[in-house]
Structure formats: C-alpha cells, structure tokens
Symmetry: C2
Subunit: 373 residues, 2 copies
C-alpha cells in the first residue's frame, strides 16, 4: 500500500534481540535473576545515581546537542582530544550512523559469523552485503578476517574485542598488526564495549589520527548504565565530524549526559565493578566445572558455558533455565550456539543459579537424549 523505499521493502521484520520484558510477558512471570543481556547488575556508580536523581527535575530542558561537557571529560579521561570523540544513543545508535555514512547499497562488509547481530542489522538496513568468516576456537580470527578483507576489499570490517557472545579476546598487538595490513578501502570497526573488563594486553593502541580504525565504547557495561543509552566513538577528526551530518543532534538524554560525567569521574567505582565481575566470573567457571561443563575464559562481563553437545541442546538448557526464572541468552549460530551465555550476577543471582542449574541441566540432558536417540 505504501510507496516504501525499495531498499526498505527488502528489510526483514526481525529484531536483533528479544528483551527480557517480552519473555516475562509471555511467561506471565518475572525473572528472579536477570543475567542474560550482559548488563551490569552491580548498578551505576552511587555518585552517578545521585547526579541523575538530582537532575531529573531539570529534564524539561533538552540536553546539550554538542555533548560538550561529556566529551571534555571523556577527552581528559582517555587522553584524546575532544574533536576525536562522538557521542550517541549507545554503540547501537553510533554503529547505525557509521554504516549510513560509509555503506552504500551493494558495498561489502566483513564480519565473523555469529558476531554482533545489531551491527549486521544496520549493514543490511543500508543495503550492505555481509561477508562472514567463521570463528576459530571460539575466537574471532584475525587471520581469516584479514584474508577475507584483502580478498574482498570491504568498506568496513567489524571486530569486537573482547568478543560478544563468546567473551574471548585477541591481543592488542595482534590487532595493531592487523590494522597495518588493511587495504586502503577498508575501515576497521573496533567494538570495545567490554574493554574495561579485559586484561591490559587486550587493549589496542590506536593513534587517534589513524583513519583506518574507529573504536566504539559504552556506558552500558562497566559503567552500569545500559538503560541510559550512552555510547561513544573514538576516531580521526574527519570521520568523527561526519557524525554531525547524520546524527539525531538532540537524541541524547540530558540525565544520561550528567550521569555519564559523574560515572567517569568515579574511577574507584569502575575498579570495584571490575573486581566484582571477576569474582562473579570465577563463580560461573566453578559452576560449570562442578556440573562437568567447560566454561570459556572470558575477558568480558559474561561467560559462555559450553553445554557439551550442540545448539539444540543449549536451547533446551536455556529453556529450562528460563522456566526456572533465570534470564540468560545464547549465541545465535553454530558452533558457538552450543553454549549458554551467562552474565555476571549478584550474590543472590548466583545462589539462585546454583540452586536450579543442576536440575535444569539434568532435565535438558534427558530431553535432548530422548529427542536425539
């Protein structure tokens, strides 16, 4: 009936992720542990909470469309000039803007099969042609990515470090070496959403004037502010300035801007979050071990636990956990989808998870064996 744009007509109705709220509505019951969306259950910095609460009554004012103060504080914190930083409505929003800036219909984009679906959503949304290489040993593989990139000369190549959904990582030095070999046509989209949780040698040193790399970071993970929608991009000035031609200039919440600044200044809190996340990951590793499963060592705030069989089994295990009020997720594609992905949790989340996990595993195993033998 509508004269939709022909490209739009080709787009799928599908949604990258179903929210836990939608599952709760379907189940007619709330989850007892929300450890599926890689949120930071330890919450925002108390100082950020206070700053946000104090700013709520002023939310009749639009936020500063230039995000000036937040960019200045980020610049100080990152030791990068503010002109190299763009702010947006989460990394998701910024990835959409970047793809729009660069990708025209039919342009090639290289990523790993099973990497971040929302990036793919944007690429497809602007008519890009996704080319994937497999994960190797649950890692995004730099050799395969580079080979495919040199072969196809894509507009963009995507790499998350640490990776989501597997939690694995590449060494910063290896990525620096990867960048050196990129063809002139290709920009590296380096998604560092989880970088604060990673070991130091996972950090990629990038000259902010280097036009071959744009990095993305977020307040949704280590800063515990997923619900406030604040992401940022770091790159060379020309590219960063480009966001101003396509972005929703008044798209940022004023309270988010204020909360992000307070959170950045509270460096003790970030250290505390990382310590708690490490403890929680240790507890997930031990849970896996005590259930005779293998946990994949993670540099992020979640752990992929290998179910030991295949995607069908992992989906059954996931279902049993969800039925027992534990919200978790799992990778979308094989062979990574043999895992269930568990985000870091509170003490209470762990108590609940440890209580129900053995039974969920046992029921899923029985169902799986019934279905497959």
């Amino acid at each position: 009936m509508f004269n939709f744009n022909p490209l739009f007509e080709t787009l799928p109705q599908s949604v990258p992720f179903v929210g836990p709220e939608a599952l709760e509505r379907k189940r007619h019951r709330a989850f007892a542990a929300r450890i599926g969306a890689n949120e930071n259950v330890f919450g925002p910095s108390p100082k950020a909470i206070e700053a946000m609460q104090n700013s709520v009554s002023g939310s009749w004012q639009y936020g500063d469309p230039e995000n000036y103060e937040l960019r200045e504080v980020l610049a100080e914190s990152l030791d990068v000039p503010a002109a190299h930083i763009a702010i947006g409505e989460g990394i998701d929003g910024l990835l959409g803007y970047l793809v729009r800036m660069i990708v025209k219909q039919g342009d090639k984009v290289v990523t790993s099969h099973g990497a971040y679906p929302t990036f793919n959503y944007h690429v497809i949304g602007y008519g890009g042609n996704l080319i994937t290489v497999p994960y190797v040993d649950d890692h995004e593989n730099l050799e395969l990515l580079l080979e495919k990139t040199i072969e196809t000369k894509p507009a963009l190549v995507y790499l998350a470090n640490p990776d989501n959904p597997m939690g694995t990582w590449n060494l910063g030095k290896s990525i620096e070496n990867f960048v050196k070999q990129l063809p002139i046509e290709t920009l590296l989209v380096l998604d560092e959403a989880y970088i604060e949780f990673a070991p130091t040698d996972a950090i990629t040193k990038v000259d902010v004037n280097d036009p071959r790399v744009i990095r993305f970071r977020t307040f949704s993970k280590a800063h515990g502010m997923a619900g406030m929608r604040i992401g940022y991009a770091i790159g060379c000035e020309e590219l960063i300035r480009g966001f101003n031609r396509v972005r929703n200039h008044f798209g940022m919440c004023r309270i988010s801007q204020i909360g992000a600044i307070a959170s950045l200044l509270d460096t003790d809190n970030i250290a505390d979050v990382i310590r708690k996340a490490d403890e929680s990951k240790g507890r997930i590793y031990r849970l896996a071990e005590s259930n005779n499963l293998k946990a994949i060592p993670s540099a992020a705030n979640f752990v992929a636990v290998d179910g030991g069989y295949d995607g069908q089994f992992a989906r059954m295990l996931l279902e049993e956990l969800i039925q027992r009020d534990i919200f978790v997720r799992m990778p979308f594609v094989a062979p990574q989808d043999r895992c269930v992905r568990i985000s870091v949790g509170t003490q209470q989340d762990h108590v609940l998870l440890e209580e129900v996990f053995p039974e969920a595993l046992s029921v899923a195993t029985q169902k799986y064996l019934d279905a497959t033998t």
Copy 2:
C-alpha cells in the same frame, strides 16, 4: 580520505539548531531566562519526577525494546490500539526513521518555507528533494500545500499543527479536508508536537487505519520532558510496524519510559501546565502590546513577536536580548524572520524579560536605524 557513501558526501555540516549551552559557552555566562527552545519551563509532572528518581538506580537494565507498557498506556490514553503507536527518541528520531522508510534519492517532499528544519535535515540526509511553498499571513497554507502536492505528487508532505515557529494553526476540519484530496502517492506527516496547547477545533480527526496520514506527538512540550527524548507516532498498522525494520530497538532510555507513563497518568498536571502556558502567553502578548509590537496569537507554548521591521532588525533585537541573558530564538527565513520567538516562562522569567525588553528594543531600533538609513 574516506570512502564515504556518495550521498553522505553531499550533506551539509550544518546543524538544525544551536543549543543554549553553546551560546552560554561563547558568552562565558549562563542565561538568566531560558525561553528560547519551546521547552516547558514548568517542568515534568511531580509524579513523573518521583517515578524517574526512583528508577535511576535500576538504570543498569536496558529499557524494554518494545516499549510495551508505554505503548499500552498511550493506547488507553489516546483510545487507539497499541499496534498503531511507535515510540522513538523524540519526534526528531521518529521523523528520521520515517524519511528513511519512505524517501529514496531524488524523491520529492513538500513542506512550507521556514517550517521545521530538523524534518528538512532528514529529508536532505536521505537524498530527498525539498519543495517548499510560502507561509501566508504567518500560517502554513493548506491551499498552497495541496496545490503543490497535487502538482508534484511527493512521497511526503509535512504540516505542523500548531505550527512552529509561528504558533499559528489550521482548523482540524480543514486538515481533514486536505487529507481527502491528497494524491495516492503522498503521505501526510502531521506534526502535532504542540497539540495539547491548541484549541479543540485545531485537533484533526484521523481514522488510525487511514494510510494517508501519520501523526507525531511528544513528551517534550506539554509533558515537560524534552531532556528525556520521548516521541510517538500514530498511524496505520503497516506503517507503524515498518519502524521495527529501521529503528534503534534499544534506543529508548529506561527512565524515560517510566517517566512518560507516570506523566501520562497525571492528567491534572497537563491541565495545570496548559493553564500556566496560557497565562504566560497572555503576559507575552501584553509585553508586545506595551512595547508597541504585534504578537501573533499562538496555539503553542511560545509566541512569535513581530519586531515591526525585517529579519535584520529581529536579529538585532534577539542579540540585545541574548546580551541581557535572555535566551530566545527566531524563525530562520523571511518574512517570518521579522519575529522573535519567545517560549512560555516562569514568573521570574517574565520579570526579567519585562525588565530588559524595552531597553533591548530601543538599542536594537537605534542600531537598525543607524545601519539602514
């Protein structure tokens, strides 16, 4: 240096609006009265403030990507099924999605010369071809819009009712009649950002199944939550569903969702805001009159005050007001730019404005006469 999308390369660096914060940075001084961005200086509902403050500590969770509860409460409040409502990051965000859904490069779009620049930003951003008709007597003119629409058969025709920046309005009945005559190729984008402030006969009755109209409303104006970025679109199901193929599914702040629901349920507060806005508009009318200027009757939360000369004079008057710490704006194009646009203010804003206005007017008049005679 970059392989930007060719369309992107053509886009201007310009920004639809400069924020008051940028002016404050330039002036090295804060404004004493912030009555330039058509914000709602009376603030959010006390119940919305409380709900938002209570939800801040839970902002580690992403908002519901389906905006389910907010859409249900809106559906109830509007007496429209939820499937006919889409939520986005302000009307600005939703307009961007709509243009992306519909407009392909070279498509025609009709609007009034001097109407909402952010809509134009999106149209140009997706390669659309803007065609404008003039305002007539400071009103968006339905006859000219219809004539041009029938002549050019655009993909979209834009109409704000009430209008921004002039505050004038068309009768709902006239718009209903306009819709009946639209060519089959054309969708009416009916921007009702200020509709809560308008007289009853300004409301356009639209069958929500009518594929010829999509309406946009917001929590930024009557609800006093501009800084929370919540807009919504009302239209036929097929069109509303379309947003799911392009929108940033996790783009909405969780606190914004919660605050919007609380604000919708506090209907007394909206009535109070409208009463206060009417009082404030009356005071702006009287200010104009006592300074021998003409105020244009407004159905919105701001008043365009005719400076009596031209754009050059209005810019001088604006500058004098800004120098006296009063943030106001003005229309961008002639002949509407002979006006200064003053948003409704608090008692204190009015006291300040009334104190400095005569001098600002007198200095501007002297400068103008010096420059032009």
